[in-house]
């Protein structure tokens, strides 16, 4: 990247800058006109100087006087016409107006084009910086803070975008304006113009000097803000350590110190800025002072006409702002240049990956090659400690090799070198005679796979994470209708103007062939197979049951799920399962649902009827009031409150029983007790308005079968059912989307797959009801061959930031699955199974070996015993290969191999 911002801008925006410059020059003509016309208006139109001797004057005469070259030769193009003084005034005034409007139009057009150019350049710069992140050498990521990278690309280059539009145009435009004004003043009076020039000169020398410290402080501010962003990200990353070590106040001290530092910089900045501003104002006002004094004197003494003085004043009125802006521009230039340098310095680390390594392939990736030869490979960060020490090794990419060794033996570094994650600092790696380091990344990505001890997952769905390694190039373009296609094409054209690649993320990037599928239709079986290999299918299946689908998107699946519901409810009639589930029945009160759920009889969508909002909802309140249920609920609320006070009063507030069982939190309990005391048994009528909603929420949470306070008898059930019907019948249209009513024949979008299948609630207090019904659901799903469909729904589960919504073992399984689905020709598993228990480790290893039929696996073993089923074993010690051979050979030799095996 260019060191100078100016040459960077010039290089990428030359044609646009030229167009804008031409516009700027043209604009000056009209600008000059808007200055000179007022003079004619005052002198001729108002004072009538030109009309002193004659009634009319010729107007709009356009002729070229060539008498200097050809004596007496005058070419007249327009004859013009005669005007009197009033006509002249009117015409000239309109010309003035027109000049102002044209001038304004020019300004608008120039500004728009500048803006577009600036935004394009900003886009280019941001893209280029991001592109560089993708090409950073892996080791560099240990040195940079991610938050700082983000701030630089997002915030720090932002002012550059604003400046880029002005980089060349502003000095030209403003300089042109200033020059025009000065020339105009010069034409009026030389002495005045000299005074103006001297004063301007003083401004241009003094102001930048005053602003120098402001610039320096600005740089400091930028650096401190970047560090602050880094620190904040550290706090978020290290939250566990901060809590575990009780170090939050240490962190507070650090941040307060930094904020204090930033405050000092910013306050200094204000001080210095306003001092500069003060002097700027004084100096710019000194000029009109001089014009008034000197110009006035000339006018009085008759050396100048009044119109000229007014003209000079007008010209001057416009002069300080271009001059001031010019000074501003110069300051901005320095400021932005500093920012630019500071940013790009961070983006050119040593050992950037070559652009050619990341080319976009135009066809399927070629095979990897067969023979990988490491000769004298050394890895050392500082040149002294050698993690790998002159390793020489030849291996076939289709061999099954285990690497064993103690901690610090270098076996993990060997794995990283084989996956090209760590470049060797000495020696060479060749694949079939070619430099392994020059192999394009897409071949490496498609033909090899690597799983380390930790897996990073993107905050996307399980599916997107799983298929991440299949996206090397767009396989099939996205389909657009004509309109959308046109918009997309304009979008790509614009992308190319800003030097961005016209890739389409909407295209299908998944390389199905790599996964062993022919297209999207038969990808699912491949996914399920891989999930089974890492024993993750069961988890995804459970996630699928807890997931939801959009009925409109998947009408086929919805139909099948409704079928499952039917079959399941048939099975639930069998004596074995009777009384385990209470189905939703619109005409019956469901004792295993809360009162609120019984009233709503559906799944709340959005916030209107969710949780405790139901009691506060005006529509629900109306329904209850009309049926007289509000009083009953209040009475139930009082009864629950009394019971809770009786039951929980003696317990300490931190008793977990509160949280698990009480309707009222420990903090609230004293208030409720006070309320009850105030009421003194006067009943529901006496409850103050303010406490009613709170008391009404209590019975709404009440589940008869669970809480067993005997509050809901048959009569009460009937009244609640009446309220359920009234609520549904009168639901106003704006609220109709707020609830999805239970309906046996319909799929409920708002509920999970499992709830849709169950269409009822597990009955409280039935031993193992959960497991038994769960097993039954699975059984029915299996019978209808829907297991894979449920897994498909589970694949939509979002894994959260860095995959934190999954357990560590699940993340690792997904990481391994992501490598396996590519069916890599050469797979490196670098102690990737260490998080699992011993048996699972061995099982997953066997699955991987089984799946890698005819393809290569390098297994960096976390336990030497894992080497058991491999053809070859490499024994490492101290960064060197201590032994290499088949198991039988190594056993015969004994030594370190035998030692390691004995220790396992």
């Amino acid at each position: 990247m260019q060191r100078s911002l100016f040459s960077y801008i010039w290089r990428y925006s030359k044609p646009e800058q030229v167009v804008i410059l031409i516009l700027v020059v043209l604009a000056q003509v009209f600008y000059f006109l808007s200055l000179s016309v007022p003079k004619s208006i005052v002198n001729n139109g108002i004072s009538g100087n030109a009309f002193k001797d004659t009634h009319t004057i010729p107007f709009l005469v356009w002729e070229f006087d060539l008498s200097a070259i050809f004596p007496g030769k005058v070419i007249r193009i327009l004859d013009g016409f005669q005007v009197d003084q009033l006509d002249y005034l009117i015409i000239m005034s309109f010309i003035f107006l027109a000049a102002v409007i044209v001038n304004g139009q020019f300004k608008r057009s120039i500004n728009t084009q500048k803006g577009r150019m600036g935004e394009r350049m900003l886009r280019r710069l941001r893209y280029e910086l991001y592109d560089r992140i993708l090409r950073f050498p892996p080791a560099h990521f240990r040195k940079v803070k991610q938050a700082e990278l983000a701030t630089m690309i997002k915030d720090e280059v932002e002012p550059l975008g604003g400046f880029i539009g002005d980089a060349f145009v502003q000095p030209m435009f403003l300089g042109g304006q200033a020059l025009t004004a000065i020339i105009f003043i010069m034409m009026q009076n030389l002495l005045l113009s000299v005074i103006v020039l001297v004063l301007l000169g003083a401004q241009m020398v003094i102001i930048p000097r005053l602003r120098k410290p402001v610039l320096l402080l600005g740089r400091e501010r930028q650096l401190s803000a970047r560090l602050l962003a880094g620190r904040i990200a550290e706090t978020a990353d290290g939250y566990q350590e901060i809590h575990v070590h009780g170090a939050s106040n240490w962190e507070r001290a650090d941040i307060s110190e930094r904020l204090g530092h930033i405050f000092r910089i910013r306050f200094d900045l204000y001080n210095k800025k306003f001092v500069a501003k003060f002097w700027n104002n004084i100096l710019s006002q000194a000029t009109p002072f001089a014009i008034y004094l000197v110009g006035g004197y000339f006018a009085i003494t008759g050396h100048m006409d009044v119109g000229a003085v007014v003209g000079v004043l007008l010209a001057y009125k416009d002069l300080p702002s271009p001059i001031k802006e010019l000074i501003d521009w110069d300051q901005q230039r320095q400021d932005v240049q500093i920012k630019y340098e500071q940013v790009i310095d961070q983006f050119q680390p040593e050992g950037m990956l070559d652009e050619e390594l990341q080319v976009v392939p135009d066809g399927p990736p070629p095979p990897l090659g067969h023979e990988l030869v490491l000769s004298g490979v050394t890895v050392s960060e500082d040149g002294r400690v050698k993690q790998l020490d002159a390793v020489t090794l030849t291996l076939e990419t289709d061999a099954k090799i285990a690497v064993i060794g103690g901690a610090g033996s270098g076996k993990d570094v060997l794995g990283q070198v084989l996956a090209r994650l760590v470049p060797p600092s000495g020696g060479s790696i060749k694949i079939d005679g070619n430099d392994y380091g020059r192999l394009p990344e897409y071949i490496l990505g498609a033909r090899t796979a690597y799983v380390g001890q930790e897996t990073y997952l993107f905050p996307l769905s399980v599916r997107d994470n799983l298929l991440f390694g299949l996206k090397h190039r767009p396989i099939a373009p996205a389909r657009y209708d004509d309109d959308a296609r046109m918009r997309r094409e304009a979008f790509w054209k614009e992308a190319e103007r800003a030097g961005n690649p016209p890739f389409d993320p909407n295209a299908d990037w998944i390389d199905y062939e790599l996964a062993g599928a022919t297209g999207p239709a038969d990808l699912l079986p491949c996914i399920v197979k891989v999930l089974k290999q890492v024993e993750f299918d069961e988890d995804i299946y459970s996630l699928g049951l807890r997931g939801a689908i959009d009925a409109e998107q998947r009408p086929d699946l919805v139909e099948k799920i409704l079928k499952v519901r039917h079959v399941l409810h048939g099975r639930l009639q069998q004596p074995d399962y009777a009384s385990l589930v209470e189905p939703f029945n619109a005409d019956r009160y469901n004792g295993n649902l809360s009162v609120a759920e019984n009233l709503l009889f559906g799944t709340p969508v959005g916030k209107d009827f969710d949780g405790d909002n139901l009691a506060a909802d005006p529509y629900m309140q109306t329904v209850l009031r009309e049926l007289g249920l509000d009083r009953d609920l209040l009475r139930m609320g009082l009864s629950i409150a009394e019971t809770m006070v009786e039951l929980f009063s003696g317990l300490s507030p931190d008793n977990p029983l509160f949280e698990q069982y009480s309707f009222i939190s420990a903090d609230e309990l004293p208030n409720v007790r006070l309320l009850l005391q105030r009421l003194g048994g006067k009943g529901a009528e006496a409850v103050p308005e303010a406490d009613r909603v709170r008391l009404t929420t209590l019975p709404l949470r009440y589940i008869e079968a669970r809480h067993r306070l005997g509050l809901i008898d048959a009569a009460m059930q009937d009244r609640l059912l009446a309220a359920r019907r009234a609520f549904r019948a009168g639901l106003p249209p704006p609220l109709q989307d707020s609830v999805e009513f239970y309906d046996f024949g319909r799929y409920n979008d708002a509920a999970t797959l499992q709830d849709n299948i169950l269409f009822g609630r597990l009955v409280y207090g039935q031993a193992q009801a959960d497991q038994r019904v769960g097993t039954l659901i699975r059984q029915v799903l299996d019978e209808l061959a829907l297991r894979d469909s449920v897994i498909e729904v589970g694949l939509d589960y979002n894994v959260g930031v860095a995959g934190k919504r999954l357990a560590a073992t699940q993340r690792q399984k997904l990481g391994i699955a992501r490598a396996l689905i590519k069916r890599p020709q050469f797979l490196v598993v670098n102690e990737a199974v260490a998080v699992f228990d011993g048996r699972t480790q061995d099982r997953i290893r066997d699955h991987i070996l089984e799946a890698a039929d005819g393809r290569g696996v390098v297994w960096i073993a976390n336990r030497p015993a894992q080497a058991e089923p491999f053809d070859q074993v490499i024994v490492m010690q101290g960064g060197k290969i201590a032994a290499h051979g088949t198991k039988a050979e190594l056993e015969a030799r004994g030594g370190l191999y035998a030692e390691l095996m004995a220790s396992a």
Binding site: T643, L647, F648, L651, L657, Y661, R708, G710, Y764
Partner: protein, 151 residues
Amino acid sequence: MNLNEEVEILKRVPLFSKVELAKLKLIAFTGERMTFGPGQEVCHQGEPGDAMYVILGGVADVLIDTPTGPLQVAQLKKNGFFGETAILCDAPRNATIQANESLLTLKISKDMFYRLVSEIPSMAIEMMRELALRVEDTNRKLSEATAHKAA
């Protein structure tokens, strides 16, 4: 069965006989009521235990694994309780409990059990008495058995 009826039953359980009414209500309210069908196992010998049970209705068989198969050693009836040893000693279940007929129990989780015992001393004493009686009973049976063998 609502809470008050449950409390009436709990009152007659010796383990809770000295517990005041309000606490009894709390036990009933926070305890989980569990129904087991005939033949269903409440807990299995050797598995870790996380709760004790009070029988509110029905009969449960106490089975112990022997080389020749499970052997029924006792029956528990209404008001009886079981499962306390596993949670007191953090030991695996020392017997299998199987519902003989439809069995209604109050399940008291380990956490809750410790809380109740620490907040209600009379319950701890009652439990000690019951455990002591069981030891006494076992000793008696043992001496009878040895006498029998000797004879």
